[in-house]
Amino acid sequence: MTVFKNRYFLQLLRFIVGGVFIWAAVTKIADPLAFAQDVRNYRLVGQALSFLTAIILPWVELIAGICLIIGIFPRSAALMISVLLLFFIILVAVTMLRGIDVDCGCFGTFSRKADLWLILEDSLWLVMSLVLLFSPANEFCWLKATKKTF
């Protein structure tokens, strides 16, 4: 579809997906301990891994979000964001199946329950992110870090 090759459309998608990730990251960076507890509440990993996730993951989200928007390694950023979203979707689904009632931890204190709506929302971001990942016209970079154009 030609709309997927329209660079302004792609840039808009990058602003949306990158913006969501930056926002999500900032709310977590503001309170790492609260996020660590949110991670722990999923009952998937122990204290140490929850802590490690809480101090590193928000920065991955932030930097990947910024890279996606300003066009430094946009393909790498889109790939990382897609993988993260896929992981979040699976995580929430598994948590629901296990019958664990938790706050998602996605937007710090603005978080809500990890439920079906969250899966749908994450799926929407995932679709956008995948469009960016596979788009042949994703060369619209403000700061060009790669010599190649795809």
Partner: protein
Amino acid sequence: MNLKQILGDRETWKGIFIILALSLAIGAVSNLSLIKKFLQGEFRQAFIARDSYPGLVFITRLEVEDLWHNQLATIVDSRSVSEFKRGHIPGAISVPLEEVRSGNFGLLDRIPPGRPLVIYCEGGDCLTSLNLARLLHERGFRDLRVFAGGWEEWLAAGLPVEKEDDSL
């Protein structure tokens, strides 16, 4: 672009490596004080900063037993009413967190002020005791002792149990 091309491109991996390395470095540097506290074992039971919650501590079953036996503390059960009815620590007061959260703050009046509180929930990974302790801390209670082992540990130790029928 297909996935094979993307994954086969060195630029993709270079980008991922740089993003991850930067995140690791910034995450570590910006959280040095938390990392120090973590290594000192401060977050062993829960991720709360001690300086934000003075007076909130975690205690073991033996400490609970001692406080209970000598009646030195008020025991608070943060589980649901039905769980409480099925069995609880003798003399415990039922203050279900979910009911308090849904607006029934009158339940907090059951807690006598000025006495140490021992708060427990089901055990394992249950969180209502800690969350109730946080809520009580915000309301001015300052001697809060969370029994993380909870009901499961109490029961497993073969200690006395009180049921709804007994208390009536």
